[in-house]
């Protein structure tokens, strides 16, 4: 079974500072990787995903993540955070099963608190 490890449960960061959220996964086969964001009292929203091709993927709101196959990592970064980035972030990896669709395995989440 796949597993996803998010190394930091909480990351406090000052506004306009950079942030990096670390994610490692266990799969040894080709995978699809995702980052989701959850704002308080809401469901999860897809932030970005890696399917194939360029190992650097970007979101529309300034986040980017880099797929590193040799290190089985998919770290998320933002060069300058805003107060509105305060949320919990989840890394997920697909468990591609032709019959059952892409079951996602999620990490434990990283709570980002942006301070003014």
């Amino acid at each position: 079974a796949q597993s996803v490890t998010q190394l930091d449960s909480q990351v406090p960061v000052f506004e306009e500072a950079p942030v990096e959220l670390r994610c490692n996964y266990s799969s040894s086969v080709s995978v699809y990787l995702f980052w989701y964001v959850q704002y308080p009292n809401q469901g999860l929203q897809l932030l970005l995903k890696y399917l194939s091709g360029s190992t650097l993927v970007k979101s529309i709101n300034g986040f980017e993540a880099e797929f590193n196959k040799s290190q089985t990592s998919f770290h998320l970064r933002k060069p300058s955070v805003h107060i509105s980035d305060t949320a919990e972030y989840f890394c997920a990896v697909s468990d591609y099963n032709k019959a059952a669709g892409n079951k996602l395995t999620f990490g434990g989440g990283t709570r980002v608190l942006v301070k003014p």
Partner: protein, 113 residues
């Protein structure tokens, strides 16, 4: 979220009672999932469905059952609620296989007292 609705949004129930949570979608997606979210555990898959009347267990299925009699509805039943099932439950839908991500509902906060 647009296209996927969970009900109820909040529920308090007593230990030992059955509880049913509903997930309704208007996207005509084939795949539907139930997850629970607990601090430190992220989201864990309870059950999923890959078509009408086609369901299977996830990693934390004990004490839960599901049914999908129509494409748009996926029901999660706690057969006899326990305090360990106090959690936030999320439904998700997926258009297809592999590269497709999920669209999540807004969640149901369930408290078992």
């Amino acid at each position: 979220d647009a296209g996927i609705t969970q009900s109820p949004r909040h529920k308090v129930t007593e230990t030992g009672t059955p509880v049913t949570l509903r997930c309704h979608q208007t996207e005509n997606h084939r795949y539907m999932y139930w997850y629970r979210q607990d601090p430190g555990h992220g989201l864990r898959l309870i059950h999923y469905s890959y078509g009408v009347k086609d369901t299977d267990k996830g990693e934390v299925s004990d004490g839960y059952s599901v049914s999908r009699s129509k494409t748009e509805d996926f029901l999660l039943t706690l057969e006899s609620a326990t305090s360990s099932q106090t959690s936030v439950y999320f439904c998700a839908i997926s258009e297809g296989q592999g590269a497709y991500g999920y669209t999540f509902g807004s969640g149901t906060r369930l408290t078992v007292v």
